[in-house]
Assembly symmetry: C2
Homo-oligomer: 103 residues x 2
């Protein structure tokens, strides 16, 4: 099975970086408990920009990622995050092949 990865930067509206990071950390907790196929989901802040949040994701397959987006818990997190988000300034798809810290 070919893994599916995403590297992206989400920009919060000014002053909303902390709130958006909280929503994403909560979403990661839900994935740990109830979402199949997520091998890594790391939330990181940008050292010089409090409104920029980096998210790196590793999924077992492209299908596992797509399936997660149909779950009520994930849809609810997206709805909570949406009003905080100004835009997405980077988004790269990758094919993770291994390493340390995969589920």
């Amino acid at each position: 099975m070919t893994r599916f990865g995403l590297i992206g930067m989400i920009r919060a509206h000014p002053g909303k970086g902390d709130a958006l990071a909280e929503v994403l950390l909560d979403a990661a907790d839900r994935m740990r408990d109830s979402v199949q196929g997520c091998e890594s989901y790391v939330i990181a802040r940008a050292p010089d920009d409090p409104d920029a949040i980096w998210v790196t994701e590793v999924w077992e397959s492209r299908e596992a990622h797509a399936a997660s987006l149909t779950l009520d818990s994930v849809k609810a997190a997206i709805e909570r995050g949406r009003p905080l988000i100004a835009g997405f300034s980077e988004r790269v798809e990758t094919i993770p092949v291994g390493g340390l810290g995969l589920g």
Copy 2:
């Protein structure tokens, strides 16, 4: 302790992407066994460019990352990788705050 993260893309010389990915996967195995403070180290290929390798790293601290670069096993991996590398086309430092798949 503030974590330290890196998101970067390493470009191999033409046709050397597979060889560089192997060196990086081997380096990740060594980190699992003998390098302190590495929480995640994921190697990923670019879907449309066989010579582009994405590496995402999470370390317990900036100091843990710096210390790893002084280890003989890491220095040996860098020496093996160096002749395969054409350049580094992206490099972002981050402050990982949590998520799924951290050690």
